[in-house]
């Protein structure tokens, strides 16, 4: 008998991006602990694997001024998760922390502390950056070449693991020493080995370098969601890289970030999805999206009017603190032809062309589609990105999770206490 493949589920706190709708009357504080507690408890009620917090180390800017159209500001992740550890029992707690603007001793200590406080539920989503813009908030500035980002991150993770392994499982502290291209440190780690031995490592990003880094190092990949075919291709590609590192396919879980809109009927769900998109793409945000493609000031354009005739600027300095699209000319042409073909305004074009929700339908159809991604080898699970704080997960947990459980596609209880056990990851081997 073959074992039915079960999915993993995680929840992303609605963050600093245009997915999060703040104009909805139900939208509450993005900062108060009560909002984090509500979402985390809801995720735990739904037996989710983990709760995920993103990070940004410099407020985004547009045209030299702070970007003010989306949610701005958030608390520091590990401190929030330490507090959540006290109000949850089983839920994994994942913090995004930059490997460029931190140092291994301090971060390894903070993550091990979270693992101790939560009795084995800590995870670290490793991100990298190298831009001088973010560097302006830190001692070393933009010190790192873009090409070295992953090399530093890989050495960082390896060093952190050395620190986590420096105490014996019996609780004896032993000195550590590491000398590499990016770090030259030695001494004694301040904390006993944590319950998971090593907190779970998550890697976010789809680039070739990112995939290789994940295959070599990560326990979970947080990837972009696409079609079933694209998912299968990514899944096969990343899992195929594991053997090189002596790892088996189940050692790395692939979890795309997804958005879900539910309705009592398919039409109802579509209508709700369209309303959410209208709230996500305000008239001001539509022009801003366009400016990010075109690279010039378009504030004189009417968001309800046609797209600009002019071509995008190729070397603009308009937006800082966010990633620019790779080929603005091609995107502009695609958007213009979409607008022409369907007779769409600027705002309608942006709504149509960008960020459509991943799963829209009744709880039954959504449950079936999620299950299909997992059973056909396109994902091991999903990281849900709700659009509302703090109620954005309630409906999924109340209406979809029971259906997934009925199908045998999701756990009906937590069988272990650690995040590693939820994810079905092996205990890390103590390397001494």
């Amino acid at each position: 008998m073959t074992v039915r493949k079960r999915m993993h589920l995680a929840a992303h706190f609605p963050g600093v991006n245009s997915t999060t709708v703040w104009t909805d009357p139900r939208s509450k504080s993005q900062i108060d602990f009560a909002s984090f507690e509500h979402l985390a408890r809801t995720a735990e009620r739904g037996l989710f694997d983990f709760f995920f917090l993103a990070e940004g180390l410099r407020l985004r800017e547009h045209k030299g001024r702070i970007h003010d159209l989306d949610v701005v500001g958030r608390p520091e992740s590990i401190t929030v998760l330490n507090a959540l550890a006290a109000v949850t029992e089983r839920l994994g707690l994942a913090a995004t922390v930059n490997a460029t603007f931190n140092e291994p001793y301090e971060l390894a200590r903070r993550l091990a502390t979270l693992d101790h406080l939560s009795r084995g539920r800590a995870a670290w989503n490793v991100v990298t950056s190298s831009d001088a813009f973010t560097g302006e908030n830190f001692r070393r500035g933009g010190f790192l070449d873009r090409a070295d980002r992953y090399a530093r991150a890989a050495e960082f993770v390896a060093t952190a693991r050395k620190l986590w392994d420096s105490w014996t499982p019996e609780g004896v502290a032993r000195p550590f020493a590491h000398r590499g291209q990016h770090f030259d440190i030695a001494g004694e780690f301040g904390l006993p080995r944590s319950p998971q031995g090593q907190p779970v490592v998550i890697q976010a990003g789809d680039s070739d370098e990112g995939r290789e880094f994940a295959a070599a190092t990560a326990d979970v990949v947080f990837t972009r969601h696409g079609t079933l075919d694209a998912g299968r291709e990514f899944y096969a590609d990343v899992k195929g890289r594991l053997a090189t590192y002596g790892r088996s396919p189940e050692d790395l879980k692939i979890m795309p970030g997804v958005t879900v809109v539910l309705g009592d009927t398919a039409a109802d769900a579509r209508e709700r999805a369209a309303e959410i998109r209208r709230r996500q793409v305000s008239p001001q945000n539509a022009l801003l999206s366009l400016e990010q493609i075109w690279g010039v000031d378009l504030s004189s354009y009417d968001p309800d009017g046609p797209l600009p005739d002019i071509d995008p600027e190729l070397e603009p300095a308009l937006a800082r603190g966010r990633v620019r699209v790779a080929d603005p000319l091609a995107v502009a042409e695609k958007w213009r032809s979409l607008s022409r073909a369907k007779g769409l305004s600027i705002r309608q074009t942006v709504i149509e062309a960008s960020g459509r929700q991943s799963f829209v339908g009744t709880p039954e159809t959504v449950a079936a589609e999620l299950d299909e991604f997992v059973t056909t080898g396109a994902a091991d699970g999903f990281i849900l990105v709700p659009h509302l704080t703090p109620g954005g997960l309630d409906e999924f947990v109340d209406r979809v999770v029971p259906l997934l459980q009925e199908r045998g596609a999701f756990r009906t209880e937590y069988t272990g206490t650690t995040l590693r056990s939820h994810l079905g990851l092996p205990e890390p081997i103590w390397k001494g």
Binding site: L57, R58, R74, T79, Y105, F138, F183, I185, A186
Partner: protein, 285 residues
């Protein structure tokens, strides 16, 4: 949290976040790391003398205060008509340049509930005292007698006034390690009477909870300190005895609160929520 090997931007964000998750109860003891052993854990810089590191700690205290103020309290507006979540005129680049670091700002965390979480500095040693006088809300002094404590407190208050502060915004706490033992017994004599004596761990009081209440009342009455910072040698045993013995006595004498009248740490300390330096100046982003 040390200021020597950490990032000022990260530390202020973490402290502001602790203030948010605790709804206004965060404090931060600033400290420096002078040893080569600590430097090797980070591998970024060599050990340096306490003087230089405390100068840097002062700059970091300044940068942190600016970053906490970099969001005005009413910066979040959620104005649907204009599509703006924040009023960016109420967010400020701090552009702080210290001798060893620069920070641009604004913070990623909105201004914390207390405005500025409580800053604590151990002002026992000379190099730290200047930073305590200028930036601390709470200064700790590790001394064995009330006369010494009174002298340090007077010096700190004078120095605070010279920095343009109202000296009453600085709380000076006597810092003692306490060993309350198992029974009710008289304070073990230290240098000059029944008071604490100097040990490697700091001034140690050893005796019963009643005598400790006497000591606290006496130091307090002679204006040697504004209060105490007590470190129990055996937390389980001594904290219990502190709360049930010493605290109960002090309450009985009307020397200590019998309920929390406020909800924030600043309120417990009788300190006002500070004004925002950028809101006062009305500066632009």
């Amino acid at each position: 949290v040390t200021t020597t090997h950490t990032e000022p931007f990260h530390v202020q964000a973490a402290v502001a976040t602790l203030d948010w998750v605790s709804r206004g109860r965060a404090g931060w003891q600033l400290d420096v790391s002078t040893t080569e052993g600590e430097a090797r854990l980070f591998g970024r810089r060599h050990a340096a003398p306490a003087d230089a590191l405390w100068r840097e700690a002062g700059e970091i205290a300044e940068a942190a205060a600016r970053l906490w103020d970099s969001w005005e309290d009413d910066a979040e507006i959620r104005d649907e008509a204009t599509g703006r979540f924040v009023d960016r005129d109420k967010l400020h680049h701090v552009d702080f340049r210290g001798a060893t670091f620069f920070v641009k700002g604004p913070s990623i965390v909105p201004r914390p509930p207390q405005g500025h979480p409580v800053r604590v500095v151990d002002a026992t040693e000379g190099p730290a005292r200047r930073v305590a006088a200028r930036y601390a809300d709470v200064a700790l002094v590790r001394v064995v007698g009330p006369a010494q404590a009174r002298a340090v407190r007077a010096e700190l208050r004078n120095a605070a006034a010279k920095f343009g502060r109202d000296p009453d915004t600085l709380r000076v706490l006597g810092s003692l390690v306490v060993d309350l033992g198992d029974g009710e017994r008289a304070a073990e004599p230290g240098h000059g009477g029944g008071g604490p004596r100097q040990t490697a761990q700091g001034p140690l009081y050893r005796g019963g909870p009643v005598d400790l209440a006497e000591l606290i009342a006496a130091w307090h009455a002679s204006e040697a300190v504004d209060g105490f910072h007590l470190t129990p040698v055996e937390p389980h045993r001594d904290l219990e005895r502190l709360v049930n013995g010493t605290v109960a006595l002090l309450q009985h004498r009307g020397l200590f609160r019998t309920f929390y009248p406020g909800s924030t740490l600043r309120e417990h300390l009788g300190l006002a929520r500070p004004a925002n330096q950028y809101a006062v100046a009305g500066g632009a982003s």
